[in-house]
Subunit: 312 residues, 2 copies
Amino acid sequence: MTADNATNAGRRVAVIGLGSMGYGMAVSLKRAGFDVVGFDVRQESVERFVAEGGMGAATPGEAAAGAAAVVCVVLNAEQTEAVLFGEGGCAATMDEGTVFVSSATMAPSVARSLAERLEKDGRHYLDAPISGGAQRAATGELTVLVSGTPAAMAAADAVVGAMAAKVFHLGDAPGTAAGLKIVNQLLAGVHIAAACEAMSFADAHDLDPAKVFEVITASAGNSWMFENRVPHILDNDYTPRSAVDIFVKDLGIVLDIARSEKIPVPLAGTALQSFLMTSAAGMGRDDDASVFRLYQRIRDVADDAPDGEGPS
Amino acid sequence: MTADNATNAGRRVAVIGLGSMGYGMAVSLKRAGFDVVGFDVRQESVERFVAEGGMGAATPGEAAAGAAAVVCVVLNAEQTEAVLFGEGGCAATMDEGTVFVSSATMAPSVARSLAERLEKDGRHYLDAPISGGAQRAATGELTVLVSGTPAAMAAADAVVGAMAAKVFHLGDAPGTAAGLKIVNQLLAGVHIAAACEAMSFADAHDLDPAKVFEVITASAGNSWMFENRVPHILDNDYTPRSAVDIFVKDLGIVLDIARSEKIPVPLAGTALQSFLMTSAAGMGRDDDASVFRLYQRIRDVADDAPDGEGPS
């Protein structure tokens, strides 16, 4: 037991949402010495966590009762609002001075509004979007962007530290971290779709895909996503590490914000359509590199048609 | 004088096109011991090269006469064809067994066609697009993609070696290197426009741009171009390192190929429109990070309009 573990022992933390990210974060918090209570709408996720030595709860409110911190890792803003203010929600049971650590990707304006509603009754809200994937969630090595009042930061410090290899402190306004996460998702989504589009162009030119990967990753056309996702294409392995529908959701958030705030984002809009077409083609739950298969399929159709052309 | 310099001494090389890239390449070849003859349509570029100890020629053909290799670094396929087969062109004066090293970005089909026309008379054609920028051209540290017959590779080996820090050998078919360069330009163009779009989104949300840069370059949203171009935005410095119109040209080539070969590239199409709008707004010769200024200007217009909205 490290010094951290000794300090954390006996401190209760609730984790709401035991999906691929939340489950790993709950495990990391338990490893760091916290008493962790998990909740998920899927009862089997709670049972699995209990079987591994965690505690379970029947509602978010039950999980949050007596907890020093509530970590919320659900899909989106709507679910986060329900976790806080819906029936059986946390806001009704959280003690004064405790902190809600909000990790779902959402619009900055929503993060600000949720913070305001929770904080007027003396509870703290930390805007804390995450990145790094399920594996780093399980090893406590996520990247966490945080913004919130000094009191919220202080109340969540040990909890965030147990989940993160890297924490970016972005000031005292909830919404700042959410905004930066959205900027990252805008770029990540465009770059995945661009990687797939470029590999499709290369494929149409019969370029050796392994050679394309070697050259591009050493060139100015490289991106983090190109380097990470193109190996899935090379291996023809579309087991979901991150699914197409995640970017349908995240670029959807980008586009909703852009439209409501009148910010032109033509590439994000085009990338969303690429993910949407891939999802519509039945690959929504497959790996997001499946955008490549969409283009491949489109080109195959053209090859099968008379005179090498699709129907007019 | 190194071993290379001794080997190269007395061997004549022509460089056609003494722009920001070609001039640096001519200097690098001279440094490596070659006798370098330069040609450019702008007489003052030739004079500058002569003043620095090079030789000048009045036509591409004159430069190529007696040269073991001709390095062609002009703007596009049309200019390359004119350099080879136009009036005063190289094809008429190149000796048998000499090599034409073709570095302009162009469609693979054009590279194949130029190679075929030149090689039927016993001269060699090396498809050899370059990347790395003017500074690395001058220091002989370019990245060069090469494809062509073994004879073309052998004839150009010392010349390419004098210009490059890194050479990718892509097989014996002219057009392969051109195709891979196009794939790189597709990605590079999309990534620059995406970086500008994302920074505009961040700006609209009053996020600290330096903090955005710090977080994104450490996150999954990063790209080589984001890391390279966003500092221009942070410094508000649009002195052209690479101009907007370069990507109007290069994405134009991508889109021309895509249309003629029926390859869907929606992101490249959208990125081209972003560069085109930026050029139309009078920033064609400014740094390509100026796409950010386009979005900034668009949003400023909206802020100035009644009720915070643009004209309907």
